[in-house]
Symmetry: C2
Subunit: 200 residues, 2 copies
């Protein structure tokens, strides 16, 4: 089967590609270091499978997966990521992703997952099963938006200007976020939200 490896960290990308290519039934036909490159390569080379990281520059692995689904492209996607966040997982499933592995898994699982997916099956890291039970994002869009800007170091006033709101409104959203997350202050709230992957 023809495979493309998309992963921004050079060492891991190279190592995985080399290792997969050693397998008799796997041929690594291309490597990409960001989402855009991956999409272009997939359209050009039409591989059977693509091993894809989520957090990459230019375009995330999930963006690529969604584009492929939109185009009804035959290439099947196996996500390989550090984070077991319910948001990622659910979005991946919606995008028709066939495999979802954690970078913490042993290396053997990757080859096995590729074969399973190529044969028409699905492959999901056992740790991910738990993810279903994870609490979902309690923040409204506005609250997320405001908290994200606060996380970037902006003051309430700055945020208000950027979103065309009054400063009081911004503080209120932050206050709501703080209460929903049972945080002590906005810094605490930012930490909690980031840990759960609730900021975008």
């Amino acid at each position: 089967m023809k495979v493309i490896v998309a992963e921004d960290q050079g060492m891991l990308r190279g190592a995985l590609s080399a290792l997969l290519d050693l397998e008799d039934d796997i041929e690594v036909v291309g490597q990409a270091e960001n989402g855009k490159q991956a999409l272009a390569l997939i359209q050009e080379l039409v591989p059977d499978l693509c091993v894809m990281d989520i957090e990459m520059p230019e375009m995330s692995g999930l963006d690529v997966a969604e584009k492929l689904k939109e185009q009804r492209h035959s290439c099947r996607v196996v996500i390989l990521t550090t984070f077991s966040r319910s948001g990622y997982f659910q979005r991946a499933m919606k995008a028709g992703v066939r495999g979802f592995l954690l970078k913490d898994s042993p290396i053997d699982e990757l080859g096995a997952a590729l074969r399973t997916v190529h044969a028409g099956g699905r492959a999901v890291s056992p740790e991910l099963a738990m993810t279903f039970w994870e609490t979902e994002n309690p923040l409204t869009e506005r609250e997320q938006e405001v908290l994200k800007l606060a996380a970037a170091g902006l003051t309430a006033g700055d945020i208000a200007k950027q979103l065309f709101l009054s400063a009081g409104t911004v503080r209120n959203y932050l206050s709501e976020a703080i209460q929903k997350l049972e945080a002590k202050n906005r810094i605490d709230a930012i930490g909690i939200a980031e840990k759960n992957g609730w900021l975008s």
Copy 2:
């Protein structure tokens, strides 16, 4: 040469070990997923080299390198890390580390680096050279300490209690940190300090 691979991320650890083991002149005699394990394995197996991540649970790769230097252990260390921070690099040099590679480097560099170091040389990613010029940490110990606690989401009052200071003193340290880092507020300061690796 006998090599140990210490890296907490399972996939990368497995892939690197497998690939290195394929080389005729390299034998991977052990793998560790944290610093403590790495140290124990090195003392038990006495390898020629150890490929080591910095950010690992239990004990960082730099901690291990320092312990080895202290014991005048013959095992030479090659650091493999995501971050090109001057603090890391300088600490590594002090600990007598012989190689310092970024995880963004191509995979071939690792094998090459191992051979160079085994032959008595040094191997440093070219990106790291710049690191020398990086600005050093402008924060005093107290300021770092306070900023770190603030980053964890504590209020000034909490921090004061924990460090047996008055709340005003804590706010003053934070204010100094904010000014030194030319930040807008403590959140901004935390971001800047973290980006530069200035929070220990």
